[in-house]
Symmetry: C2
Subunit: 452 residues, 2 copies
Amino acid sequence: GPAMLRLLAAGFGGEGWALWSVPHPGGTLRPRVTLVLCCPDSPLASPQEMLIGRYGEGAKLIYELQDQGGELLALRYDLTVPFARYLAMNKITNMKRYHVAKVYRRDNPATTRGRYREFYQCDFDIAGQFDPMIPDAECLKVVHEILSDLQLGDFLIRVNHRQILNGVFAVCGIPESKFITTCSTVDKLDKMPWEEVRSEMVGEKGLSPEAADRIGEYVQLHGGLDLIERLLQDPKLSQNKLAKEGLGDMKLLFEYLTLFGITGKVSFDLSLARGLDYYTGVIYEAVLLQQENDHVEEPVSVGSVAGGGRYDGLVGMFDPKGRKVPCVGVSIGIERIFSILEQRVEASGEKVRTTETQVLVATPHKHLIAARLKLISELWDAGIKAEMLYKKDPKLLKQLQYCEDTGIPLAAIVGEQELTDGVVKLRDVATREEVDIPREKLVDEIRRRLEP
Amino acid sequence: GPAMLRLLAAGFGGEGWALWSVPHPGGTLRPRVTLVLCCPDSPLASPQEMLIGRYGEGAKLIYELQDQGGELLALRYDLTVPFARYLAMNKITNMKRYHVAKVYRRDNPATTRGRYREFYQCDFDIAGQFDPMIPDAECLKVVHEILSDLQLGDFLIRVNHRQILNGVFAVCGIPESKFITTCSTVDKLDKMPWEEVRSEMVGEKGLSPEAADRIGEYVQLHGGLDLIERLLQDPKLSQNKLAKEGLGDMKLLFEYLTLFGITGKVSFDLSLARGLDYYTGVIYEAVLLQQENDHVEEPVSVGSVAGGGRYDGLVGMFDPKGRKVPCVGVSIGIERIFSILEQRVEASGEKVRTTETQVLVATPHKHLIAARLKLISELWDAGIKAEMLYKKDPKLLKQLQYCEDTGIPLAAIVGEQELTDGVVKLRDVATREEVDIPREKLVDEIRRRLEP
């Protein structure tokens, strides 16, 4: 079965997330069967002006379609902005969905560093006016579930809140005009030491050394509920409205995460800032950890595999009347996760099957193509995943070799003798054992053998 | 479960068709789990010059990307040409895969007629040098299976062969330079009477009236093995090498289709021509039939839902050394099929669920958000598809109403009393029956209730 799909379905809170329960362009709801088959999708192309200005620095990487006498269109840059536009255009006020699809960047591909012009993203989002932190906590639960199920090794989900960051900047005396640029410098704390971050703040960003030092006292903090409680008592922060609200959210979030039993892998980390402008509340990022060999040092992050947050203003930007739809979501870095899984499979030397064929229909000698076609047709009609070689008279050895090469567990062999006796020789490819099975019992016997 | 996916998997011969068992851009095979999750895909964009010239008249509908200092790229116009290019670029000599993905046409959308600029296609193809007609027969078997399983009503698969058509044109005295244009006129025979087709041949296409009449004698024929045998004895056709080879193929194909038990829905039809230049052998098209009300007339075609054929030359066009990889494939008109299924669902008034949620976790009074979060977390961890309202203190009535509106079959209710007694009240939404279940037995009981 589609193991990963089931896994992910489990990952998505085990619950009926819609894979785009999308109104058809014609207007009516597609029947449910379509949801899986054709993965209804946000439109690939959007009017260019809808995209420009949403991505800050990223805008130069937007792929535009040639002006051929219509509107100017551009390719999907990520899945969040098209989702927000979709909600606004269709006047949808609440929805939860996941979406696995390709996005496009007009970048110079650097395949060695896993950077492509066309790559998959996997997002899930909860849109709607709900009580605080309930959907946010669910998003973190889903991330926790996916990363646990995939057995990628130890991981940590870092969490912060835009309002707390803004509150910190405010009480440290940073003018509001410098919040965003200060944010992007703070965000580098996971890659460089505080001293370098500080000198970028003072040098490039023009903060006063005193303000930078004050910021440094906050953004180097990380912890759990205890830290949240401490900051709620902080004489400066507790006077700041933004920070107080943010800390209130954070406290509630951690209470919910405690009920979900996942606080062990979640860290409230004041250095997490995340670049995109559209986040308005909780933000988070999941990183894989690698235990150092000597077991002395702290685990080291080997890179982000998921990230997201709350973006309450984005849908309103696409709505002609500015109606807001609060949203929270996560993007899972599936390209990165797959490359990790791939390296692991490669390192293990494990053979990976790319098909799910259960039975090869084979013949032991010439002039039996009719017997093979008849038998395979019976198996297909019974829902058995069967295959045969596309040769009129293949050698038996070749057919059995094909089973071994491709990992097909069973071979159903019919020769003249079997046809006369009304049986099929069923061969277990691994053990090479062969048993004659009456033809009318073959399907049941195959099913029995394939039971897990 | 993903009913349609299972259905389609059954449709695809019940066997392990790869959904792109694609080498990763990095070069190694992705582990099998990825095959379903992210639907590896042919590249969306191709160098423009690879596409222009493959689609004849269609070329003007190709979507081009803006020249932003790199190669000129264009969006995928169909799934066949990118598949052929993929095989050539990766030097793959045999592969079978199915692919469900979007394609793009720079057309004026006419949504009422189901014509969009962005729509899904669903293709499957078998590439490789194999014995004649074995893969071709499998393609027809798959089409037959899909259309039967989807219960779309009566259908007919029309089959013809490019070489037979060319042979017919040759023996009727048409110069080779007019084969393709004559083909496209013949193709209209399913929509207009022979007299009109004839006058287009003579008027617009410049054939002599005698040649047109000779063509008319052939292209109005349809039948089965009997017709093939008769044409093999035809004094003129049996002298033409192309026609003889084509009829030989067709005879073998019908023998295989007889073994598959599907000749009842297959008609050898000499008027089927199909527009695209790249077909080289067998061609086919499936049409839905509608029984007229008075039961007197013959069934009427209500349009094509699948089509394809053999294209042995296309891969070679993309290979720098011109190496050929014979291919045969089908495109299923899923947009059309879905709109039929949709209309049917709408007409029946049947309610269609868009999620698969099995249980709503509910509380009967205030201050129980913690109980709900703890219970839903247990259910998620056990793989149950559970949902709860994103409100801190929702009314019980609202929660039950939500189950009825969205078709959730079970509600798991925890109040103070249930918490004290260590039970959960399990409610059958349809019958409104409620039973207290010991908490530790809840997961098993839910699973039991959900068994089909």
